[in-house]
């Protein structure tokens, strides 16, 4: 095939990018080389539109062992233990083929984690669908949930937490973000940097097929009417092979034969070999005839661009091939020496004794395009003035029931019951709480993780929204008694070529950066997914933040269920009555404009740290952060979980009842304390200048507001639990 500008454009490259390739090579690339460039230079692999902005994120900290740039981030959790974690998107494939798209998303992120030597110990996910009324939503949701479960369950890794939302902006572009945490000894972490000359390059895992060719390019383009034609670009997963690959890799890693290891994810053999060479400042030579292929007559182009799953590339020490091969034979996996490291600093490919590609590594990596895209700054919307008449006629209990049954608030049990969340025998906080918690096997330590996003806030004001998501993650970890350590982010946005979408990206990233800097909650890994749009309609900006924290003694973990009748309930943090962009405003008053709640980083940090102090002093019986739906929704959920009621008394200050109960001001928690500890607790709160309200007292099974309005917890529970199950069974 003759390569020209049109062929390059068909590969998703721009005209000037093609000209740059010819200039760098000082010749026209052949088709294999063009394929390699298109794979390395697409948005998904090169981060060409985002790199400039991502550089500004804080990535360092005392507990950070490895920040962005490796397969996943690594943090120190003491005693020579470390946690490897990352979140990644698999949005485009999941919309085209929900089961396989979601399944391979889960498989891919687990591979990123065990590539570094860590055994995966927990999975999480953040999934977003179109309006429940949209004709595709139900099937997409079912397919994605089955896919996530199908892969994670088979791997024997518990899925401990997640987030699901519905919004019409995802009608044509669902989001599937998967996150994995792995446990590794600090001195046994593996990296992808190749080192040494003439070291054997080994291919292990599944055979290479024609699936997923151009997957990464597909993920870097917008959808149009022809998306069905893209089905062949979706990879097909086999969790069984991945389980074998996991065990085989960990067995090999127990020895000392590996120099570098890299999984074949997006852009398969291309990106894995180039990344290893690039990091090691070396060349790699590969004989493509040696690559185990599943199908006959595969061309070099197809072999290099296949995204077949469950494959790894390893650089071994010389002479260790036999020993390594034995392990892979035991697990019935392919093992082939396909090449070697060289000093050429080039990627050189041979096929049928001909050289089929010869590209300097730096042209693919350092010289890849980087754009400073135009972007538009978002204005802070004006506050709405809600009229008393609009609110006065509302009955609080009716509103509460509606909110509890709202698709974005309701119980997601239908989803997480399909995920094995208890395998490995260390899950001490299951899905449905503020964060999932697993014990560090065989120790008293536990690791908490949560994943959050607030697309509505980010859409209303990206800078504030970006900050808010990080704060929410911080709060969720604090609520289970964990000290927040670091985050991973999955940045889901529309087209970077659209100034408004690009502006949303830039300002969300800025917000994330500011909050994570202030809270000392650095970003250690992540992924950017642009072009989440159909035709020219982008999704609401949806940065998803995965937070990880440590509980030093698992017995001090906190859950959100109310524990004991007659205990007191406090609201920590001040309620100003911010209604704009709240679930209440959007769904009850049908007011979709206005600014999101303000984020005060000082209060976030101070309130959170004070809660941890209270927990350290054993003063908190249950805790929950206040988010969607405000104080009353948070309290109702604690009632439902604990099968207890509460007498709520609105504090006298300021705002009216509705504003007090449904506002979504930030930095707030609900805590349950023992009556006899009231003084101890309030002393600590006063000492730390933390505002609190005395909200009420726990009772048997009814929710009262100011002694008048009441509803049974069973009734609230039914509202909360039935929506999703009913929706899916219709």
């Amino acid at each position: 095939m003759i390569v020209n500008e049109q062929v390059a454009v068909d590969h998703g490259l721009k005209e000037d990018e093609y000209a740059k390739i010819c200039e760098l090579l000082k010749r026209t690339p052949n088709i294999t080389e063009l394929g390699i460039f298109s794979a390395m230079w697409n948005e998904h692999c090169s981060y060409k539109s985002s790199r400039l902005h991502l550089k500004k994120l804080p990535t360092k900290g005392k507990k950070v062992i490895q920040g962005p740039g490796e397969n996943a981030g690594v943090i120190d959790i003491e005693d020579n233990d470390a946690i490897v974690f990352k979140i990644e998107s698999h949005n485009h494939p999941s919309f085209i083929e929900p089961y396989q798209g979601a399944a391979t998303g889960v498989g891919g992120i687990m591979r990123d984690v065990f590539t570094m030597g860590a055994r995966p110990i927990a999975n999480l996910n953040s999934i977003h669908f179109g309006s429940p009324q949209h004709k595709k939503t139900k099937n997409l949701l079912r397919g994605v949930v089955h896919g996530i479960g199908g892969y994670g369950n088979c791997m024997g890794v518990p899925t401990i937490a997640g987030q699901t939302s519905f919004d019409s902006s995802y009608n044509g572009n669902i989001l599937v973000n998967a996150m994995t945490l792995g446990l590794v000894k600090k001195d046994k972490i593996f990296y992808s940097k190749a080192a040494g000359l003439n070291k054997p390059v080994i291919y292990v895992g599944s055979k290479t097929g024609r699936d997923g060719i151009h997957g990464a390019s597909m993920a870097s383009a917008s959808f149009d009417e022809k998306i069905e034609e893209k089905k062949p670009t979706v990879q097909v997963g086999d969790p069984f092979t991945e389980k074998l690959l996991l065990e085989a890799c960990l067995e090999l890693m127990a020895g000392d034969s590996i120099i570098a290891i890299q999984d074949m994810g997006a852009a398969g053999l291309t990106s894995s070999s180039i990344e290893m060479a690039s990091k090691g400042n070396l060349g790699i030579e590969i004989n493509l005839n040696k690559v185990p292929c599943r199908e006959t007559k595969m061309t070099p182009y197809e072999i290099m661009l296949s995204e077949s799953q469950e494959r790894m590339l390893i650089v071994l020490e010389n002479g260790k091939e036999e020993q390594a091969k034995k392990i892979f034979d035991k697990w019935n996996l392919d093992f082939a020496v396909i090449g070697k490291t060289t000093k050429s600093k080039k990627i050189e490919l041979y096929f049928d004794e001909e050289k089929v590609a010869d590209i300097p590594v730096n042209t693919l990596v350092e010289n890849s395009p980087m754009y400073d895209r135009k972007w538009k700054k978002a204005k802070l919307p004006k506050k709405n003035k809600f009229k008393k008449e609009d609110i006065k006629h509302l009955k609080i209990i009716d509103v509460l029931k509606k909110i509890l049954a709202n698709p974005n608030v309701c119980s997601k049990e239908w989803i997480w019951q399909q995920y094995d969340h208890t395998v490995m025998g260390d899950t001490i906080q299951k899905p449905g709480g503020d964060a999932g918690v697993v014990k560090v096997h065989g120790t008293d330590k536990a690791v908490a993780a949560s994943v959050d996003s607030s697309a509505v806030y980010c859409w209303a004001h990206p800078l504030t929204g970006g900050k808010q998501v990080v704060c929410e993650s911080f709060r969720n970890l604090i609520s289970v008694g964990a000290k927040p350590i670091a985050i991973t982010n999955c940045l889901n946005f529309g087209s970077p070529e659209n100034e408004e979408n690009m502006g949303e990206f830039v300002e969300c990233v800025q917000g994330i950066g500011e909050a994570s800097e202030y809270l000392k909650f650095p970003v250690v890994s992540g992924n950017v997914s642009f072009y989440n749009q159909t035709k020219d309609q982008g999704i609401k900006p949806t940065p998803a933040i995965g937070g990880v924290g440590l509980i030093k003694d698992y017995k001090n973990m906190i859950t959100m269920d109310f524990k004991e009748v007659d205990n007191l309930v406090l609201v920590i943090g001040k309620t100003e009555g911010h209604i704009d962009q709240s679930l209440f405003a959007r769904n009850i008053l049908d007011e979709k404009n206005g600014p999101p709640p303000e984020v005060n980083l000082f209060n976030e940090k101070n309130n959170g740290e004070t809660i941890l102090k209270l927990i350290d002093n054993n003063l908190i019986k249950s805790a929950h952060d206040v988010s969607l739906g405000g104080i009353i929704t948070a309290v109702a959920k604690m009632c439902i979980k604990g099968k207890k009621g509460i007498n709520i008394k609105k504090p006298k200050y300021l705002i009216n009842e509705i504003e007090y109960l449904f506002a979504e001001d930030q930095g707030r928690y609900i805590i349950e304390i023992n009556r006899k500890d009231f003084k101890k607790v309030t002393d600590i709160l006063h000492k730390n200048a933390v505002h609190f309200d005395d909200l009420g007292t726990i009772n048997e099974n009814e929710l009262y507001i100011n002694d008048k309005t009441k509803v049974t917890i069973d009734e609230l529970s039914t509202s909360n639990k039935s929506w999703l199950t009913n929706y899916m069974s219709k």
Partner: protein, 227 residues
């Protein structure tokens, strides 16, 4: 007491079972599926997971593994063999226990706590358990127990049903059946009651900080019965 846990390719509850057995006093060995000989054991466990990726039919390929010949001989000579979840699926494939396990009635994987009623205590697994009802944990996609009418009659005549899904008070009703199993069956024995297959995972219920503690009760009792 010595126990052996068999690891098949795709087993994923083998470690959990190892942890549980050791916690309650067993000297446990992990045995690889391609081995031919079982170590000397008082109890052999086929753990949960997705042996051979559930390809062909859950448990079918594992039932033909090299080690299974020894396991079958061991069972036939009266040795204690327990299959949990995928292990139960393997047991039905070997024919050591009657029946088959179909896909769950609602076609969905289910992971949750359930209650089971002990149907028979004249066996080494449940003898001396004080409770009538245990809270166990299930996590499976194919746990819908099914057998022919004749088989069912035989199973009932021989009192081979080990546990049934029920509510916390031991009431065995359709609404407490998570997967559509015939007669709410959650576990059954072979005729001699030395082989037990069950869907619930007692190894996930061995600590109050986990899903519950009735698994501890089960294992403590089991090791005492074997002494």
């Amino acid at each position: 007491m010595k126990s052996s846990v068999i690891t098949f390719p795709g087993s994923n509850c083998d470690r959990d079972m190892d942890v549980a057995l050791k916690k309650f006093g067993f000297k446990n060995k992990m045995v690889w599926h391609a081995d031919t000989e079982l170590p000397k054991s008082d109890l052999v466990v086929l753990p949960g997971g997705f042996s051979y990726g559930d390809y062909l039919r859950c448990g079918s390929m594992a039932s033909k593994s090299k080690i299974m010949k020894s396991v079958i001989n061991f069972a036939n000579s009266g040795g204690m063999v327990m299959g949990i979840c995928n292990g139960f699926q393997i047991l039905v494939e070997t024919g050591l226990v009657p029946g088959v396990l179909l896909r769950n009635k609602y076609l969905e994987f289910i992971c949750k706590n359930v209650f089971v009623k002990i149907n028979d205590k004249k066996n080494k697994y449940f003898k001396n358990v004080d409770n009538e009802v245990l809270e166990f944990h299930i996590a499976h996609n194919e746990g819908n127990y099914f057998c022919t009418y004749d088989q069912l009659k035989e199973i009932e005549d021989n009192n081979q049903i080990a546990i049934n899904y029920c509510d916390e008070n031991g009431k065995i009703e359709d609404q407490f059946n998570p997967n559509g199993s015939i007669k709410n069956i959650a576990g059954i024995f072979n005729k001699e009651k030395n082989v037990l297959g069950m869907m619930p995972h007692p190894e996930r219920m061995i600590d109050t900080s986990l899903s519950g503690e009735d698994g501890s009760l089960f294992f403590k009792n089991l090791i005492n019965n074997l002494k």
